[in-house]
Amino acid sequence: MGGEGERLSALLNVHSYYSLGAGTASPTTLVERAAAQGYRYLALTDDLNVTGMVELFRAAEEHGIRALIGATVPVTVGTEAYPFVLIATSRAGYATVCELITAAVARAERAALLPELLAHNHDVILLSGPRDGVVARLLAQRRVTELQDLLGRVGAAFPDRFYLQLFHDRYRWDSRRARAIRSLAQHLGLPVVSAPEVRYAAPDDYRLYDALTCARLGITVQQPHASRPQNDCQALLSPADVLDRLPFPDAALNAAWVAERACFELVLADQTGRRFITPPKSRLPRGEAPEDWLEERCRKALAELYAGAALARAQERFETELAAIKAFGMADFFLVTAEITDYCQRRGIMAAGRGSAAASIVCYLLGITKTEPLGRDLLFERFMHTGMRAMPDIDVDIASDRRQEVLDWVEERFGADTHAMVCNKITYHLPLAIQDLGRALGMPPELRHRLTKALGRDFRWLRPRWAAKAAVAFLEALGDAPVAHALLTLLGSMEPRHARHLAPHSGGVVLGRYPLSHYSPTERSSGGSKLLQLDKDDAEDLGLVKLDLLGLRMLAALGWAREEVMRLDGVWLDLGNLPDDPRVWDLMAEGSTLGLFQVESPSQQHTSRAMRSRNLRDLAHQVALIRPGPIQSGTVHPYLRRRQGLEAVTYWHPSLEPILAKSYGVILFQEDVLRIAVHFAGMDWEEADRFRKKISGWGAFEDIEPHREEFIARAIRHSGATREQADTVFEALKGFQGFGFAESHAWAFAIHAYASGWLRVNYPAEYLAAIFSEAPGMWSQSTKRQEARTWGVPILPLDINASAASHFRCERVRVDGKPVKAVRPPLATIKGIAEATAVAVLHERLQRGPYANADDAYRRLALTREQFEALVRAGAFDSLQERRDALFRVGALANTHVSGGFELFTAAPATPPLAPLGVEGQFTWDHESMSFSPLEIHALDFMRSQLRELGCVPLAGLRRRPHRTTVRTAGLVVSRQKPPTAKGFAFYVLEDGPVRAQLIIPPDLWDSNRELVRDAPVLVADAVVEATGYQVTLKATTLAGLRSPIAVRGYHFG
């Protein structure tokens, strides 16, 4: 280390944007800049956080510097909290840091206690903290004796590992302060270390740091605060610059010494480069080894599920899979997953494995998945192969309404120490960045909201860095106000993936063999979930096993429909083994798929008509077809034309026929990519899997162009293809970039899709009640209510004496003398009525009989005035009295009575004669209260004369219009989509009663009507009829907007 004292070689107190509002740079940027400045070590010490650790180690490896990991932890001393900087010197030290952070974040004040700091000293180097640390602050307050005593205690707990931190941010008296700290250290016999606190990469980033600090503190830039930066000197500066500020060779030498001691390899790898995988221990009977128990259980299921030739094939496949599982040491992982699905089955919770795991016969035999893989020719190697470096995925869909019950059991079963959710790093997009930075700049909430709204679907998904692309929206909302320039400058300086906060992943549960503090701190999210500070990829890199336990609303809906069928008809349905019903396929062939799983979108409705699926294989293909990968690769139209016999099926090379015959010669699934890579280009499974990953993924595609020549050469060599053939295949694979389904996943979803169709055909009322209750899919309650008219299911009014608490329920009623099943909305569907309130109303009704009127309910129920008014406005008393009368009574009673008790002063005044509310009023109040109306009326029914005057043809009338006719029509906008893959085209759905039409808006029309298409609840369009029949498609040529009694929030994408 000769010469280290002459220049600083280590940065020991660096913050990234994972300090969450107190840093602006990514770990990668910091490493790049540190390497460019000539540093040899960089310690990431984010505030109470290690989220950037894996990225830090990856970047450091790439740029040839050593990464150190630690954290800045506030510690309460007396009544104040002071930050200390901890740097781990080993894996055990890293666990120590994680444990201390866990203890700190468990408190409301997010600070550790001094005894905790003193106890967490194993393999950790401690620095006394920067400007707001205990040394600088107590010295400033001249509390020297107290400080000396404290430093003595800390030094004793961290022998030879406690350093007084020298910093210099070119603030007033920083030189004097550094000299004073050094003198104090010499007096106490403690070492000093040069450790300037770095909060951003380059000096110009101080503006963003200042704005984020203001946002974090809840102040504006006009307000002074001690925590705000006073200059731009906390950037990552050169060693010479630091030495100029802190000219103490001993302190610089100590920085190198600390860094040398703190170097250790965090991401463990065995000799073959594979990650260590540490699955949790499964529960084993009779003390068996996990591999033996797995084999025993699977062989038993083999004998039960297979026979004859199928059994031989299944046994062969099982042996292959078992060998791979044993090679990975993953038997425990499969058994643990089976424990969870077993639990779901025992408790009647709908659950099924999905994703690539559905290709595994072991998963099928263990009951994790419901898809038999051999008969469907599903590729096991997509799930797992012996060359794999990453963990195989097992995703389990669980009925969303009971997922928490499963998570609670998992925590209980595996222990709180070894169970947590992985986190999602929530990164800034424009709306969120505008809210935070705009608030810091003093923009009032209304202005921020106006700007956010002005972004519309064109710019909402932009990263802040590219905010300049949304200049038109800034101009619309802010004009030429000076704040617009400041805001745009700040946004443009943000890194693309700037992290704002951590949130629980939608389903990723980590189960560890050892306490999770060995890997990451844990904390409770606002929803109560126990959360790691690692996302799923980071957790995997550290050898943790992640299970995706995903809440799926459609499973909850299927479960509720099954319960309703059981309640009304006494039939228990086995939804995994429903009989084949031609009426289901007929329904799909009509395109009447609204409400069905995965095939209900407008594009899927069109595809349904073209596909005319007749079996589960067709349905699996249909589910997979409308995805970004197949859409972008131009697969959809060739597939459909070839299936309809309109185009000959061809293959780019004869060797591809066995792979692509089932999909008419086009690439449809991820497995197709894998098989082509192996069988056409001669890759092994490991290479093929890496190749597939380069192609797949959301948004962050790698450029596969550099692999073109190698692919072509290998294909020529392996398959005897010509250069042109190989090049064409590569082009097709390149076109498949983007998210595509695994075939096994498509099969798993096809089973749910068929179940939803079967229930729709056989038990429409029960199924409607279920999709109203659980709200799966894309359509609003309002559109589903209109669709109920097509299904022939009456919707009954909300009724305080008949409605259930939280679920839509079926009732047998007579319509025109005929018995039918109808659906009645529950009380909790009203905005402002929580489930607990609805249950209280129901309990009172069940205990003491029906309510006589609003007065009776007011006396019996201890609710707030707002809750009573919400009930009344939603029509809960319509069967007892007129809605306006009831509302008056509630208002009058609120002034004279305590609800659920006796009158305070005098009797409530009598109700004056009030005009009835009327149908339009009821409809509007219903929508305001419940987002739909049980009335069999549509918003456009109140606008008929206006629409007639405008010459609008009702949507229902368009079904008989010839192709390419120009019409003027109108509809309530119920869906707005502008997918990034659609080259600027937008796809809206207009609704008029139970009839809907898709409206295609070309890019030029969109650009000239940005505000209209964003804001208008009802659109009037001059349009060309592109397709007719059940599905009407229109291509707009001009647009106008109309006001409507209601607006539907509807589905938004893009």
Partner: protein
């Protein structure tokens, strides 16, 4: 200590450190308006600023930087110096752009 905020002329050493400072004396205290002017609301009169002789810097006691108001059209970026002068006075001086300003003096 007096707050001045008056422009200064500074001679720098090779390492860009001030070695001598010259600035204008501040304007004098307001004095009554001349006879004959309206009694109420009359503008006060100030003595004009006058240049003081250059002062030699014997010690740079501290230096620091200040930046702010980046959200406004004119961002502030200043290099401050706390100087000990040859007569024992302490002078707080800053450079902003090409200009030098005396912020305050303690004598």
């Amino acid at each position: 200590m007096r707050l001045l905020m008056t422009q200064a002329r500074v001679e720098l050493s090779d390492d860009e450190t001030p070695v001598s400072v010259e600035w204008d004396a501040p304007a004098g205290l307001p004095s009554p308006a001349p006879r004959g002017a309206p009694a109420r609301g009359a503008p006060a009169r100030r003595a004009p600023r006058r240049p003081l002789p250059p002062r030699r810097v014997v010690n740079v006691l501290d230096r620091w930087r200040h930046a702010g108001h980046w959200w406004e059209p004119r961002e502030v970026r200043r290099h401050y110096y706390l100087l000990e002068l040859d007569d024992g006075a302490q002078l707080e001086l800053f450079r902003e752009g090409d200009g030098w300003w005396v912020a305050r003096v303690s004598d």
